[in-house]
């Protein structure tokens, strides 16, 4: 059968649709850069929805994230957050949150202190921003407000009893009730995504409110698993509060989480209307660096696609997203075989204790970059003037344990896009790189 390779030309190619890639997409749009973005289901659907700045280091939690970053500078001076000015990090986080809010997924404006974010286990963690739909929980806990937690028959991994049992010592005015979700009374396994989509329909919201109403007498707050709609969560949230006459907050659930799907789908929904050609759920298979930029190759069901671009941002994530790959003895970067800084041998990848406060060595493995976020080769020189790496693929950080994933992703995206803009939009800088051709290994 005759097939043509489809070709796409753009100024910037972003590889990855996780938080870093999506932030880069937003910032590129702001800069007026014509962008093509390709990525597969990333860890974004595993997120709680909380956006962390910096919360924890070697077992110590910080209510002031910047105090934590100061400590971080002593222990891990090469941490990505130690490479960027505080002001720049703040600007990037605020801009990202502002854009998300504009797109319809409202977030709290980041302040200077960490917030006490509720987890479904009843444990709290420090974070800098959260969806507006979750925000009321902070105050409810802080004031020991009388609060009812509702969970649902069939929704696994979210137990009101568990949440209450673990928070009761610090939040005595907490209790819980279990309901059947309207329209899903068969008792079978429920998924938050399905429940959230159901609540996009006004009629279903009214039915749920009718069920909850008789239970909330005397309560100030109502806590629900994160199911308040996917595309218009703020509207669904507002309407539920209106129908119930009580403050409502969401609590994250197990993945695939609604908070993560909201982010993914808001981009899938909004990007096509902007300067971005978004190619979701596809993986770039091959990347070639050229003098004038790069060529990217991938397949979709209908055939081969080639993207030609003047600059590339790698936001390919770690092992789960496929940016890094672990062999039996060493770790490598997947697309270009960029050198990965890593512990000496497999025995040093993981500490013997799962919850070792210092985290695991493998989590700090990753791609090393220069001040301009260009990945470095074995000799410590940038591979190309037109290749940038951002997000969790970067070395010297442990985003899970340090509660700093969002800040790394968003602020490195912001920095890299600034450099790309300089390269592409200012023709005086736009000279061909001297790096020559580098190809990823053929598969």
């Amino acid at each position: 059968m005759i097939r043509e390779t489809r070709k796409i030309k753009s100024q910037l190619a972003i590889i990855g649709t996780g938080l870093a890639g999506l932030a880069a997409g937003i910032f590129a749009t702001e800069q007026g850069i014509k962008t093509t973005q390709v990525g597969h289901t990333g860890s974004v659907t595993y997120t709680t929805g909380y956006l962390d700045l910096f919360g924890s280091l070697s077992g110590q939690q910080y209510s002031d994230p910047w105090q934590g970053v100061d400590e971080l500078k002593k222990e891990y001076p090469n941490h990505p957050l130690c490479q960027i000015d505080r002001e720049e990090i703040n600007v990037a986080m605020s801009l990202f949150v502002e854009k998300l809010t504009e797109m319809g997924v409202g977030y709290l404006k980041p302040g200077s202190k960490n917030l006490d974010a509720l987890l479904p286990s009843g444990v709290c963690k420090p974070t800098i921003s959260m969806p507006l739909t979750m925000a009321a929980g902070i105050r409810a806990k802080k004031t020991n407000a009388s609060t009812l937690i509702i969970d649902f028959i069939g929704l696994q991994g979210f137990s009101g009893v568990e949440f209450v049992a673990n928070l009761k010592p610090s939040w005595p005015e907490l209790s819980n009730k279990r309901l059947q979700f309207p329209g899903m009374e068969s008792g079978q396994q429920l998924f938050p995504e399905v429940m959230a989509r159901s609540l996009e329909v006004p009629e279903n919201r009214r039915k749920l409110a009718e069920l909850i109403k008789p239970l909330i007498n005397g309560f100030e707050y109502l806590g629900l698993p994160a199911i308040l709609g996917i595309h218009l969560p703020d509207e669904v949230h507002r309407e539920m509060e209106g129908l119930l006459g009580i403050k409502v907050f969401e609590i994250p659930t197990m993945p695939p989480s609604v908070a993560g799907i909201r982010l993914r789908e808001i981009f899938e929904q909004r990007f096509p209307a902007q300067l971005i050609t978004l190619i979701p759920q596809h993986k770039v298979e091959k990347l070639e660096l050229t003098d004038g930029g790069a060529r990217l190759f991938f397949k979709d069901p209908f055939g081969d696609v080639e993207i030609e671009s003047q600059a590339v941002i790698l936001a390919t994530g770690r092992f789960l997203s496929g940016g890094l790959a672990a062999g039996q003895q060493s770790i490598r970067e997947s697309l270009l075989n960029i050198p990965v800084s890593q512990p000496k041998g497999r025995d040093d990848w993981y500490s013997e204790k799962y919850f070792a406060p210092e985290g695991h060595g493998i989590n700090r493995a990753g791609v090393e970059v220069d001040d301009n976020f260009r990945p470095l080769d074995e000799d410590g020189r940038p591979l190309s003037n037109r290749l940038f790496a951002i997000g969790t693929v970067l070395a010297n950080q442990d985003w899970v344990r340090q509660r700093c994933g969002a800040a790394i992703s968003i602020s490195t995206a912001y920095q890299a896009v600034k450099r790309v803009a300089g390269l592409i939009l200012d023709s005086t800088i736009d000279s061909p790189g001297k790096s020559g051709k580098i190809s990823s290994p053929a598969r």
Binding site: V161, E162, A165, P252, A326, R346, Y350, E352, F355, G405
Partner: protein, 528 residues
């Protein structure tokens, strides 16, 4: 049966106290019950937490010991035949073979049939192509192959069935997390064992007419608590790895003097490869290491090359209690795999016995010998029946069999019976069955205890998702009502990690990344 002593310590009385919930201790419990003698079985952790739960699950044909230890080889053969009759629930008669590959000692290989014949072990020569036909994953470099009657046995189901049967026959019962701290001794007998509940910290006094020490690798310590210094063990650590899929249809043994990665044993949907042997000082808290895993794998790959690309979901290590003959050197592989029964007469104790050493295949015989001794001391003439009475199964003890819960769930066709563990398809109803009916079920049942009695957490996600779901479910069921439930979850994932750590490479690293995101980012288990 329960009385309270003035000090507030709970006192229990029974005919026989059995210390150690491995295959031997539970075997003794059932042996005695079949003689209508009731007992209390205690374990410092839970069933099979020592060597009984960390082995290949191989029911030896005896071939492996034919060359060096004919007595053990014969015992294996005889016991294997008995168990295939009476414990067929727990056994997969998958058969096995011994193969020598290019570079192995051909003399050793050529003597194998004679050694087997001397021990009465059936052994049929196979041509390399016949061997390959039976096991297509074998290396092409086979130089000799023999078919033997190996089988596999599920040691978890075995202990659960034994305890269950004993409890059905008599008023015997089993207490997990109960550790002996001291014995009250007087007049040449143990009057009571002073124990502590490892979870509540509560002290428990158990009065028994007879005390059996079947504590496996810990038998030497327990004997010393009773002032008996004649039990001398060598601790030999053995590490194995579990692959994500079944790599062979039957058991594959390397035909050579025992080495690290020379037995590959199927276990339902997975395979187990091992075993290393290293002498250690302390049987407590041993963990498999990266180095051991790499050695096992390197050797196993000589036999089955596809192991090099297999995904391994976990490693585990156990301690073989090897009997130290006087003047014996320090190598575990050279030590006897035989067992010994100490009646402690010479230590001036009338009602104490220690049984240790031995192996999974010969556990029944060990229990029989203990049973004979105890019955005689108690004046019972009832004979041992374990070689003739089949082990009955029960509703709550089938869940350790791979695929059982999945088939059960499918057969129910009940949409409200929700799956909690996706990998192994363990549904809410099977968890209910375990909580309500499984031997050793407790009021405050941990995820770990459930996992031991089911396939929860044994699939490719290694408990990343199901541990959280099961914990929530246990809260919902009212099993947990405080922060202790979350502590159980934390313990479980910590424990699982020890086994996963040395096999973390390839796709498993991605899985681990997800697990850590779930356990830390979502659940905050590292924060509290």
């Amino acid at each position: 049966m329960k009385t309270n002593s003035p000090a507030g310590t709970k006192t229990l009385t029974t005919k026989v106290l059995i210390i150690g919930g491995g295959v031997t201790g539970t075997g003794v419990m059932r042996d005695l019950a079949l003689r209508n003698i009731s007992s209390i079985l205690i374990d410092q952790h839970d069933l099979n937490s020592g060597a009984s739960g960390s082995n290949h699950g191989l029911l030896h044909s005896g071939g492996r010991y034919a060359a060096k230890d004919r007595d053990t080889a014969i015992e294996c053969r005889v016991e294997g035949e008995i168990l295939k009759r009476v414990a067929s629930n727990c056994i997969d008669p998958c058969g096995g073979m011994f193969v020598a590959v290019d570079g192995d000692d051909l003399d050793f290989a050529s003597q194998f049939p004679d050694h087997c014949q001397a021990a009465g072990i059936s052994c049929t020569p196979l041509s390399p192509s016949q061997a390959m036909e039976r096991e297509p994953s074998l290396t092409k470099k086979i130089v000799a192959a023999y078919e033997v009657a190996d089988a596999t046995i599920d040691p978890f189901r075995l202990t659960l069935e034994s305890v269950n049967h004993a409890m059905e026959l008599t008023d015997s019962f089993y207490m997990p997390h109960t550790r002996v701290e001291a014995f009250e001794i007087g007049d040449g007998e143990i009057r009571a064992a002073l124990c502590r509940d490892g979870r509540s910290g509560e002290q428990i006094r158990i009065e028994a007419e007879e005390v059996v020490n079947a504590a496996g690798a810990w038998a030497m310590r327990v004997a010393r608590l009773a002032g008996c210094n004649n039990v001398n063990l060598l601790y030999s650590k053995g590490t194995l790895i579990i692959s994500n899929s079944r790599m062979s249809s039957g058991v594959i043994n390397r035909l050579r003097p025992p080495g690290d990665g020379d037995i590959l044993v199927p276990g339902g949907t997975v395979s187990l490869l091992g075993t290393t042997s290293a002498t250690i000082e302390n049987p407590d808290r041993i963990t498999p290491t990266v180095d051991e895993v790499d050695r096992i794998l390197a050797e196993g790959t000589d036999m089955v090359p596809s192991l090099a690309d297999a995904r391994f979901i976990r490693a585990f290590a156990g301690v073989r209690p090897l009997l130290m003959a006087s003047g014996h050197g320090g190598d575990g592989r050279e030590a006897s795999r035989g067992f010994a029964l100490f009646d402690h007469k010479e230590q001036n104790l009338r009602n104490f016995a220690t049984v240790t050493g031995g192996k999974l295949t010969t556990f029944r015989l060990m229990a029989e010998r203990v049973g004979d001794l105890i019955a005689k001391r108690l004046g019972s003439s009832a004979p041992c029946k374990t070689a003739v009475v089949p082990l009955p199964s029960g509703p709550a003890i089938c869940w350790t069999e791979p695929g059982f819960s999945a088939r059960d769930w499918y057969a129910r066709q009940d949409p409200t019976d929700r799956i909690l563990c996706e990998c192994e398809m363990v549904s809410e109803s099977s968890i209910d069955s375990i909580i309500n009916e499984a031997p050793g079920s407790e009021a405050d049942m941990s995820v770990k205890a459930i996992s031991l009695r089911s396939r929860v957490g044994k699939g490719s996600c290694q408990g990343a998702f199901c541990s959280i779901r099961v914990t929530s479910y246990l809260y919902d069921k009212g099993i947990y009502s405080s922060e202790a439930g979350l502590a159980h979850l934390r313990d479980f994932v910590k424990e699982r990690f020890k086994g996963v750590r040395p096999v973390l490479w390839g796709a498993h690293v991605a899985q681990m990344e997800l697990a850590e995101a779930l356990h830390c980012d979502l659940m905050g288990l590292d924060l509290k």
